[in-house]
Amino acid sequence: MTAIIATNQTILVVGGGISGMTAALEAAECGKQVILVERNSSLGGRTALLYRYFPKMCHPTCGLEINLRRLKANRNLRILTQTEVTSVTGQRGDYTVSLKISPRYVNSNCTACGECAKVVKKEIPNPYEYNLSRTRAAYLPHAMAYPQHYVLDPSIIGTPDADNAKAACKYNAIDLDMQVETIELKVGAVVWATGWKPYEAAKIQPYGYDRFDNVITSLEFERYADPHGPTGGKLLRPSDGKEAKNIAFIQCAGSRDQNHLHHCSRICCMASLKQTQYVREAYGEQGKSTVYYIDIRSIDRLEDFYRKVQQDSTVNFVKSKVAQIKLDEKTGDLILHGVDTEGYHRYATQHDLVVLAVGMEPESNGIKLPADLITDSSGFIEGSADLGQIAAGAASSPLDVNRATQSATAAALRAIQVVYKTSAIEEAR
């Protein structure tokens, strides 16, 4: 790989989701040198796996396209995928970072022609579909993947599959000898845009995510609704492939709960309101959505969207934290038990499919962060005390996309301030 030039005027952005891309682009478009590292093989993060955004019901890939175009046009920006930060030492204005680059086994010669995928036999669970479908072990992460290069799954290295892939490539783009690389860089500021991950739904025992096929997470539901997803956009339930027309949305699945995540994940109310409209989009008046909630948190003008959904005859709201889900063995349906607390109405309601609006946990939970990074009681990153390391987006707080990009833009300026002051001090000398 080509040498990367970085100095204490360089900003390192960790994470290539919407927040990291935004922070990197905004800084680069101000004329700053930026290195963006992403652990996965493509940029885009979780937003690339969403079908639509609330409240406009527009497509996340639309913004991704614009960001990718900005990025292609900008020479201040270097992108490293399959790269993780293993250590950050030093201080504000003078950091040394170690990066670990995992082998992709495909180099930049790749033209995304797809010949390798034709000859690889092995299939693996598709990580870009939350493992809901399978993909060949030589694959392009998704249609908007950037870099637009295939990936070989490490599990086929050393097998005939890998050799066949190599043989099929006319462009010498497959390099089976790629090794893990470690590089060290000097940077002036670090923006942590490591994003979030869904709370592990199986831990919410009464909802039986691990026991009932037809209890899924809100993120999985995004994939089902997406025409490019595993069901081609049909809302088919996992147990029997039947069309799910009567769908329950359970709010605060893991959030606002001292047994799980004590914070409110902010986005889940809006996400479920949005998803009720997927049901409407699929079935019109024939669909039915029921939202079980504690408080509907559709803040600011998002209230308009809530009002619209409230007026939708196919959507019901029940103020209740569902107590328990039971399986109706015969039909595969699920029966939700609980009490509507507005006036005390006990219910046992049958649904085809249950969607858990799972909470947001910092992706960095479980990852060793630099010692001087301050995190809150949920693990969200506040930044370093000397302000040389800055958190952006959902790494800093449970945020929706709009607020995450706002936060990332602010983080970009804070990073620029760090390198500006470093240079000002040096000039003064």
């Binding site: 478009e29 101000c30 614009i66 930049s108 025409p227 902010r266 600011d300 833009t409 620029i416």
Partner: protein, 750 residues
């Protein structure tokens, strides 16, 4: 610039060589495309291929290149030659990937590729390498309008990044609403107690900063110019006017508190025992952590907070339909003022949805722990007759009507943005005034009094409002996508928000302002065509002063001079080309995108005769969404008609109807226009482009009839970027329709 020397590079990799006759393509590039140099390569994007191009540029003085290979969206790192003008003929995603395999399709496949090569060569000959706006301006100072927490934060953020700032505040002191608060909602762990606002320190930092100039008791009397060269008249209360030159503007004009007098049913304005949240802060500032007292001096032993007062209410047009976001946390904080000073105070918060996202949950619990009672209920009335108010409400949990006695009632009213003039209301007045109506003139003067920026722009004195009077952006991914380049609304004027979000917003807006001045200084476009160095130029001698460009520009970039000729302010321009699409006499163009660059492509297509049974369909596709969808249709090998010829456009708004008539005249059998969703939830990145195109096309029917053509021959579609499969289906359906109505009778006349 040196003399134009053209070159075409034809790649035979990725299966192109297997499925296409590359020699034929080369010949076409040479003979028909008239390319000075034509080269083939089996793997053009590899270092060797790229080097060939680079060598030609350096040694052969090639200035214009056409790369016939993959889509313009692919291999951008390899084909990166900023020093030359470049077109891309899309033979991979646009031809071999969307046409079914097999020899029987060889002919149409080759025809399609031939045409794309012709088009690429035709385009490049009309392109120029953009040189950047020559009228760029170098002022890098930043104006911040408003000295509340947002304005202060933005000013400090820019100043600490090395930029000079001018801060204009209409009051006699800095601080805004935040200065009137006793404490603020916590923004750091532990989220348990109200915290110091930190405002005194912030004001001190701003006031003493060497790079910040503060004007108190001042307003912006006039703003003229463009990014990099704004001219601001700052009017002081004393009557003096100072002129400041700045490069970008952050509008942090904040909010007014919703008038509680509009809530008489909740006791608003009827008694001093009913206050809004600002009123409560005033009492708290007086009490300073001792038990709070009412205006009449009585110590308050019971208080009820009524949430969403005059908010989240669409039924009553006087009320605010939206949620102001901060009020739940603010009431919780204020309830703590009472409980912290005296735990025995009866403190009830009446809410419908308690909205304290994120770590706000901890703060909510902390209040409960202090004994604040939260009740889900809807207040219908507050009786203020006695010493204690009576709050009449529906208890939604206990499902009954109830009454609470409270010595003080706090109404959590909402934020009303100080957004200035609503252009939707303004423009009719302008029209009236221009037609000589005295009333119109007077109303216009009256309305302008509330203006914040007093822009002397053709399209009105303030930034357009999106919804509910806020100067918000419409985009999820791009909250700072403003409709007035170089002017960024931040804080509660943009969207209802709390102090924490306002701080973030201010910092983000400061960055965008910095970016705007940096872009302006090198004549470069802002988002979403960031980095674009092209700019619109106008051939004034052909202009008929029709004003369509000045009216339709989504960004208010074009003014009018005294003779009503358009005046382009290049650094306000976002390079969408809406003006170019609007111009009936086609005098507006960009160096690398013009009526000719597209028109020439249309004319370059080889037109089979009427009896060939091979119709030709032109696709004009928005480069932001529809074109990528076509590309991805290719990537996923969705097969579509080989009779289409697609041309990406910057925005459907840039489509000039001459392209349509040219296409039809030259024998195209149909035209498909693919743009973004328009209407309320528009997805057009240039706001009105696809809507305008739709409107213009609705008028094209007459033209079609004149030509003796069926109206179906021009069709517009909303295409989203995810419509990979759908776009193929649309094309095939349209091709079937053309087949049905038959070939165009215009063929052979060109």
């Amino acid at each position: 610039m040196a003399e134009m020397k053209t070159a075409a590079y034809i790649c035979s990799g990725c299966g192109l060589g297997d499925q296409l006759d590359i020699a034929q393509l080369s010949k076409i590039a040479q003979k028909e495309g008239k390319m000075a140099l034509v080269r083939n390569h089996e793997f053009l994007c590899n270092p060797e291929g790229v080097q060939i191009i680079r060598d030609d540029i350096e040694k052969e003085a090639v200035t214009h290149i056409c790369i016939a290979a993959c889509s313009r969206r692919a291999k951008t790192e390899a084909f990166n030659f900023p020093e030359v003008a470049m077109s891309r003929a899309n033979l991979r995603e646009g031809v071999i990937w969307i046409i079914a395999q097999g020899n029987e399709h060889d002919e149409v496949r080759q025809e399609m590729a031939n045409d794309y090569v012709r088009m690429g060569c035709a385009e490049i000959k009309k392109m120029k390498l953009p040189q950047g706006n020559p009228n760029h301006a170098n002022n890098k100072r930043i104006l911040v309008v408003g000295g509340g927490v947002t304005g202060l934060t933005a000013a400090l953020a820019a100043a600490e990044t090395g930029y000079e700032v001018v801060l204009v505040e209409k009051n006699n002191q800095l601080g805004g609403w935040a200065a009137k608060m006793w404490k603020r909602v916590p923004f750091k762990q532990p989220y348990a107690e109200p915290q110091e606002t930190g405002l005194v320190e912030l004001v001190a930092k701003v006031s003493s900063h060497s790079r910040i100039t503060v004007y108190l008791n001042s307003t912006v009397a006039e703003t003229s110019g463009a990014p990099g060269r704004f001219n601001i008249k700052v009017a002081q209360e004393s009557g003096s006017v100072t002129t400041e030159e700045v490069g970008a503007i952050v509008q942090a004009s904040g909010f007014s508190s919703y008038d509680i007098n509009k809530l008489p049913e909740l006791g608003g304005g009827k008694s001093t025992n009913v206050v809004d949240q600002a009123g409560l802060e005033a009492l708290a500032c007086k009490a300073m952590d001792t038990p709070l007292k009412r205006a009449d001096g009585k110590e308050i032993k019971s208080v009820v907070f009524i949430q969403c007062a005059g908010q989240r209410n669409e039924a009553n047009p006087d009320h605010l339909p939206y949620c102001s976001g901060h009020c739940c946390a603010t009431s919780v904080k204020q309830a703590m003022y009472f409980k912290n000073a005296n735990p025995d105070v009866n403190t009830v918060v009446l809410y419908t949805d308690l909205r304290m996202p994120g770590m706000g949950e901890d703060f909510y619990r902390s209040a409960q722990d202090k004994g604040v009672i939260f009740t889900k209920g809807k207040a219908s009335r507050v009786d203020t007759a006695g010493d204690a108010c009576k709050v009449v409400f529906r208890d939604l949990i206990l499902d009954e009507d109830a009454v609470i006695d409270a010595e003080l009632v706090v109404l959590a009213t909402g934020q009303v943005p100080n957004a200035g003039v609503d252009l939707e209301a303004w423009n009719p007045l302008v029209t009236a005034a221009e037609s000589g109506s005295e009333e119109g003139k007077q109303k216009k003067v009256e309305m302008q009094k509330i203006s914040v920026l007093n822009l002397n722009y053709r399209q009105g004195p303030d930034v357009p409002q999106l919804k509910h009077g806020f100067n918000d952006s419409h985009f999820i991914c791009f909250p700072y996508e403003t409709r007035r380049t170089g002017i960024y609304a931040a804080g509660s004027v943009r969207r209802p928000m709390d102090m924490l979000q306002a701080t973030e917003d201010a910092t983000g807006a400061a960055l965008k302002a910095i970016q705007a001045v940096e872009n302006a200084s090198i004549g470069r476009a802002a988002h979403p065509r960031s980095g674009d160095l092209s700019f619109p130029s106008v051939r004034l001698e052909g202009c008929t002063q029709c004003k369509r460009c000045t009216v339709e520009c989504p960004f208010g970039a074009i003014d009018e001079d005294e003779k009503r000729f358009p005046v382009f302010n290049e650094s306000r321009c976002r390079r969408c080309g809406t003006c170019m699409g609007a111009c009936p006499v086609r005098v507006i163009s960009f160096e690398n995108y013009s009526v000719d660059t597209v028109g020439n492509q249309i004319k370059a297509v080889d037109m089979p005769d009427e009896f060939s049974e091979r119709p030709r369909i032109l696709i004009l596709a928005c480069e932001n969404d529809a074109y990528p969808a076509l590309d991805m249709a290719g990537l996923q090998h969705h097969v579509y008609s080989a009779f289409v010829r697609a041309i990406p456009v910057r925005c459907l708004g840039s489509v000039n109807t001459i392209w349509i008539t040219d296409a039809l005249n030259s024998g195209f059998d149909g035209v498909m226009m693919m743009g973004c969703k328009h209407g309320e939830n528009y997805q057009c990145h240039f706001v009105k482009g696809s809507e305008l195109a739709n409107y213009r096309m609705s008028k094209i029917d007459d033209t079609l009839k004149q030509l003796g053509l069926e109206t179906e021959r021009v069709a517009t579609y909303e295409v989203a970027i995810t419509d990979n499969a759908r776009v193929a289906k649309l094309i095939n359906e349209y091709a079937a329709k053309i087949n049905e109505i038959g070939m165009s009778p215009m063929k052979g006349f060109n």
